[in-house]
Amino acid sequence: MGFDQYHEPPDELPEQTRTFARMCASLTEEAEAIGWYEQRLAIERDPEAAAVMADAVGEEYKHFSMDLEFLLRHTPKWREIARGVLFQEGEIVEHGEAAEAEADDEAGGDAPGTTAVPSGGSLGIGSLHGEGM
């Protein structure tokens, strides 16, 4: 397996950013798998095989959701925008623009996966496990 998920020299990246990149790669793979299962299910005529694949795609939904939640927890501005877009009724683009504008207005830009200070009041500190002098 290569190290394609890194766009910059891994040695120069902080550990937190390397984890972030790995989780982004994982999210992409789960999304691809969901797309593949969707296509397979669309043409599968054997109901038993279709049932197995339908069960499998459920796993991919779960994996994708967990990856996404991890990334959102570590990227406060992304989380803030996602909060305004996900599970909302109505115009998706409209919600997206409004959520982005609100996040920009509240806190300015954050560097993903680094020392972002989120909008909404949380300082985004969370766990520092294993970090010492």
Binding site: D105, A107, G108, V117, S122, I125, G126, H129, G132
Partner: protein, 273 residues
Amino acid sequence: MSTSHLLREHAPITGAGWKLIDAEARERLLPGLAVRRLVDFSGPHGWEHSATNLGRVERTNVSELKGVEAHRRVVMPLVELRARFTVSREELRDGDRGAENVDFVSLDAAAQRIVDAENVAVFHAWPKAGIEGITASTPHKPIVRKRSFEDYPGCVARAVELLLRNGIAGPYGLALGREDYTSVVETAEHGGYPLLDHLRNVIKGPIAWAPGVNGAVVLSMRGGDFAFESGEDLSVGYESHDTEQVSLYIEESCSFRVLTPEAAVAITPPKGR
């Protein structure tokens, strides 16, 4: 419209001002937050999260109906910590103009109070909040260090050995209170070898500055022994303002449980100083 109980939208503070305040708060909080470096951290679960599930019920049957039993669940309520501070509106206006030395002295003191409170509650105890901390729970007698710090690696090694003897595996971490930290950093052993480097070799895990801790604590970091649960993670909220000052606060909600009391050993200063 306000979307959070922190009411930040109601403060007479610009986006740039909030960025300055949040960055200052983070900078002041981060170095001393030893708990988050050394124990298991769960969350943040949000402001609405009120209690930690203990998986237990009270033994007493509270049902008054024949043929029906009822037992109340036992939970650990989260504690809300809040440290208030003020910021001068004039200083904030200067910050908006690009001033790089905005006066945040009140914020800095509040951040230190929160850090101390978190460390004291977890590493020692906070009975009124229902928190039995690490040194209050451990069955091990504390290791008393000598007045001179030259025996410090020996104290830490004895603590690690005590944990090993009790079947508590590593990796291990070390929380150093203010006095211990200062002395450890300042002290060089015979031959000029820095004491801090020696401790790193003994502990083989993170060493954390832990203001509020009396002495030091050696603890296992293998996981599953000490559980800090965060409801609302450290946040800055708005309270009120007048023409001169804005009143704000740093806040968090949390609980802490010691799951394996024998997984830590305290190192205490000698008595009669």
